[in-house]
Amino acid sequence: MEWIKLIGIAIIVLGFIFKFDTIAVVVVAGLATALVSGITPVEFLEALGKAFVDQRIVTIFFITLPLIGLAESHGLKEQAVNLIKKVSGLTTGWFLSIYLIIREIAGAFSIRLGGHPQFVRPLVQPMAEASAEAKYGELEEKDKELIKAKSAAMDNYGNFFGQNTFLSAGGVLLIVGTLDSMGYKVTSLDIAKASIPVALIMILIGIVSNIYFDKKLARKYGNKGEQK
């Protein structure tokens, strides 16, 4: 009957799938796991309290919030937009690659560009599309759709694989805290350093895929472009 201990994992999976409140789901999962493993409710509260207090380091990024807020309220994103607008005259593929690189660097400096609503929709996708149309004229609908998908994808790639190179990204501190709770001491600097290769490889794969996309566009619309 050892497998009954996995009830907590089942609760987490179901809770996240059905979008129950995450905080409640995690507490209930912990309680259920403890109870089926012969831990009394009081022992559970003791363990939970100790672990939560020990792991306050995971939430230390709260102390950076006033700083980020001040910068945002004084035009941080708007200035980032100004900088990206200066990047012009590139092919669609290279524009997307530059955005991927900017997104990763921003992540490494904990600058949250705000993702799809604030950046991709109003800025990245229109500029990526415009740089293709400047070269080849009106695009077919399915290529426009592809540029949209790629613009959104670049933001995800840069965001996901760049953020952990920042010393106190939520993910970095989660790794430090979780490993610590299982008896392994690592520092957030170790984790940030260990996250660099994946960040670089992601940029490389992104660039290759975007060069391929440029070639594909050139093959398809190339003749038309030369006539212009």
Binding site: A24, I63, S73
Partner: protein, 307 residues
């Protein structure tokens, strides 16, 4: 040296506690928030845990953590509304300050890394030191008063909502799993497929476990706690892998799963609808080949680099 930085860290936790209590106070006074009592209690509860966690009996802390769950279970939490800064003002400010806007955020990252590099014992407290310096720089550049700093703290804290403390709670759940022996059970169960001591099989199991659980749950953080306890520790770290490298790779392996799953609506479905795409899964479709390549990259790095 170590004691000094530990005390400094405790001081930063008290500062965070004050931020939380301030937000509790602001929410309590916000009559437009229909759940102001529950929400205010949530922030106050968290503030007490941060300020007095070290001196309170563990069972009291545990009760307070459980109470956070109770508040959210009964949906007594609501985020207050803030008036957004006008777009014209933001653009005028961007023009006025130019790239100087980036100084405080760059200082935050650079100072924390340099400090952690220079003094190894400071690595936990480094971000707090950098944040305090960064805030002072921002106040100088933007000529902000302390009141504005408090306002921004409250606004950002509430924008984060309950999800801000999810990573910490998951890390605590990891400790419960360890005590209960959840990892051992999973290890026994998958021991049949993954021969113990086979590093390649262990690396594949850890990476794919992260990908699959993230695809199912749509959340790489939750997957990390579960899979690290069950697969990462017994089949990778205990076989001699570097815990920092294996852990770092595992979380980004989970993000490969995020690229593939409709469960991560914010990242995949939301942009598709924002961009008025015809195929609601168009973004995922685009990401599949890259995610597959990245999964292979993760397995290779885990096997060749972590060991």
């Amino acid at each position: 040296m170590e004691t000094f930085f530990n005390n400094l860290l405790e001081f930063f936790f008290i500062l965070i506690g004050l931020q939380l209590v301030y937000t509790a106070f602001k929410v309590f006074k916000d009559v437009n928030n229909s759940k102001r009592i529950g929400t205010s209690l949530f922030w106050l509860d968290l503030g007490i845990l941060f300020m007095f966690g070290k001196v309170m009996p563990a069972v009291v802390s545990g009760g307070l953590v459980a109470f956070l769950g109770v508040i959210s279970l009964f949906k007594q939490f609501e985020i207050s509304k803030f008036t957004p800064v006008k777009q014209e003002k933001l653009e005028a400010d961007a023009k006025k300050y130019g790239n100087a806007i980036f100084i405080p955020v760059l200082a935050l990252a650079i100072i924390s890394v340099l400090l952690a590099f220079a003094i190894k014992e400071s690595s936990k407290a480094a971000i707090g030191v950098a944040a305090v310096i960064g805030i002072l720089l921002a106040m100088g550049i933007f000529k902000s008063k302390p009141k504005e700093v408090a306002y921004e703290s409250d606004r950002m804290m509430q924008a984060m909502g309950t999800s801000g403390i999810l990573p910490q709670l998951l890390a605590a759940l990891g400790a419960i799993f360890t005590i209960a022996g959840v990892g051992d059970v999973i290890a026994q169960m998958i021991g049949g497929f993954v021969p113990e001591g086979n590093r390649l099989a262990g690396s594949i199991a850890y990476v794919l476990g992260m990908v699959i659980f993230t695809v199912i749950m749509g959340n790489g953080f939750a997957a990390f706690t579960v899979i690290t306890a069950g697969v990462g520790v017994p089949f990778v770290i205990m076989q001699g892998a570097d815990p920092a490298i294996a852990g770092a790779l595992a979380l980004t392996a989970g993000y490969c799963g995020t690229l593939l799953t409709p469960m991560a609506a914010n990242f995949n479905a939301l942009p598709a609808s924002l961009l008025e795409m015809k195929n609601p899964h168009g973004v995922i479709k685009e990401q599949v080949p890259v995610a597959v390549i990245m999964i292979i990259v993760h397995i290779a790095l885990m096997y060749f680099w972590a060991f």
